[in-house]
Amino acid sequence: MFKGKLGIIDLSKNKITIKQTPDSLKKLFYGGRGLNSYYLYKMIKPGIDSLSPENVLIFGTGFLTGTLAPNSSRFNVSAKSPETEILGDSNCGGYFAAELRYSGFERLIIKGKAKKPCYLYVTDNKIEIKDSKYYWGMDTTDVQQFLKKDLGPVEVACCGLAGENLVRFACVRTGVKNAAGRCGLGAVMGSKNLKAIAVRGTQGIQIKYPEEMLETVEQLKEYIMNSKITSILGSVGTPLLYEVSNAIGAIRTKNSQLNAWSDSLNAEEIEKLVDKMIGCSSCIVHCRHRNKLGGEGPEYTAVGLLGANLGIEDPADVIELNNICNELGLDISSSGTILAWAFELYEKGIIDKKITEEKLCFGDFELAKRLLYKISRREGFGNILAESTKNVKRFGEKSKNYLTAIKGLPQSDPHDCRYIKAFALGIATSSRGADHLRSRPTLEIFLRLPQEVKERIYGKGIPNDPTSYIGKEKTVYFSDNIFALIDSLGICKFICHGFNSPHFVDYTWMKKLIYSASGWTVKEKELESVGKRVIDIERMFNNREGISRKDDTLPKRYFDDPMPLKISKGHCIDRKEFDKLLTRYYNLRGWTNDGQVKKERVKKLEALA
């Protein structure tokens, strides 16, 4: 079957229901992030506590996940976020999602809370709720290794100690380092007493037109492999971006007190600590580092946030912190941001030893390591840090001035967004809070890209100046829409048009892949409207939780403190210009001036199904 099943698991009632998502709904949202967001909107009552049994946790594979379509390894984990109390959603690679498709399921919706620790065992067309007493308390590698030993060759998604202990930025992990990292979805697993999902499937995904798929993928592969960026990503991976951002002085350093850091973390230095580059299922880019210190990574976010942002220079130290976060099941982006925030607050005397228990300072690797362990176990000061940005209440209003977060979500991008205005708008409006993977128009960073290339992608009137506010609503709008669709198709953003390259998988390629897989004939325009629909339904979820224009803003420092170093020196975000840019963005989206999805649109989307 090309179509997979929808498994609904009620852990409170110990009940499993197997259904199918109707094609009519799939044509509107496709799968992955899109359908997950639709179900979240439909199934979660507004105002619920994210760590209560009322929260709904969804594991949804993309429309093309597990097929020959390049880089189609992805799935999305979604729930109301314990870190932000708004839409929580995180996209993840690895081998879990493909295996879930091969078991005959495309999506699992988990409700309620199990009486005692459990895990789900998914085999061909079957879901079982099993006792996980034995696995509870294990690190993310151990639980996966033991499940493989006990069940045979399964792929596993699990939470670590951090998730069990309800750390608000605990991630869901699969394999050595793949993580649905953002929004604390590991804590939602923990809150449901769900340690892991183990999957083993032997069924194939039936393809409507196999010859067409073979042909389309052959052409697409050649097109992607011919790009320079593909071979660079395949040899050094995302740490490449560290140097690019650092060169212009846009690497968040010591909680953004500085904006540039050491060359010791450049990709060529990281490369020395890498054994082999590997890939996720169906991946032709292979950007995963198997590092010499026993784990995988680091990605650019780890290099920036566990390196520069903590004032750490030694790449081996960064890799060790990266590996520790992965073992404990902590989101690297939030970990690096929250630790740096605490360090600066301590330096500024806003918090002191009464709560921190010890001296905090930047550049102290052992301290960072110790705190990560304490956070995951909720010990001492770690128990406080585990509450993430909610600590503004505890640390006082003044502490907020130094927090790099939006809507309660610490910023994932190590890139300091004061220089490139499109990046700033992107993180301010992203549906899950300060995150770059929703809409980052990375091409803005390539200062020498001809204007006509940008205009061809984003539309007319985009000046080739990253510091200009003009037309930047269009770059974010385009990126936000196409990334929402690629997340719904289950394909990695790395081969998405406009993410790292002005080429790659655009709506036309998507159309061809969808046709060969399912036989559906769709137009590019219709595909574009899918992304818009996904973003609208996510905004509706957030509007319902009280999100409006006031929340689409930036960390105070981005407005008020000019950047101190390099090309970016003197730059910050102008409040008035930013406000005008935001209005233009709302107009493009068709939202009200207060950032609300208009009533007619809400009615229309609510009527879908």
Binding site: G204, I207, P210, S282
Partner: protein
């Protein structure tokens, strides 16, 4: 004569080879139903493509009591009509390169000289090369290495 050569050090584990194989042979994407298998374990840090070596003196052929196997231009071919599906070939293949799946026997036939696994590999971890002496030596080395791993 051209054969498949594998370079595990270049294999990223992605399985595009198996997916292309199952798609072209069965019209479905299923890495477990393919004539090429990637044995991978990211925790124990290896990726290893397992292909049929098209042996000169193939065990699958030798033990097939239905004479379903024959060697055509150096390729060991299974005749589906003669095959009774007993799976003896798969059981005896020292490399586990003959796969059985869902009562189906999957045996590499090199796709009539245009192997899909090679075409869809993005790193050159599987190559379809002329059997030069050097490559021949490499192939034997690898088979020995492989058997050693098996013994463990």
């Amino acid at each position: 004569m051209k054969y498949l050569y594998v370079y595990p050090e270049k294999c990223t584990g992605c399985r595009e080879c198996s997916l292309a194989c199952s798609l072209s042979k069965f019209g479905e994407c299923n890495p477990k139903k393919a004539a090429i298998t990637i044995v991978r374990d990211e925790f124990n840090r290896y990726e290893f493509p397992i292909v049929c070596f098209q042996c000169e003196d193939p065990i699958c052929l030798k033990f097939c009591h239905q004479n379903a196997y024959q060697i055509k231009d150096g390729i060991v071919i299974r005749d589906k009509d003669k095959c009774i599906g007993c799976r003896l070939c798969a059981t005896l293949c020292p490399y586990n390169a003959v796969t059985t799946f869902d009562d189906e026997i999957v045996k590499c036939d090199l796709c009539d000289g245009d192997p899909k696994c090679v075409k869809y590999c993005s790193t050159g971890a599987i190559q379809y090369l002329d059997e030069t002496e050097e490559l021949e030596k490499r192939r034997k080395d690898m088979a020995e290495r492989f058997l050693e791993i098996f013994k463990k």
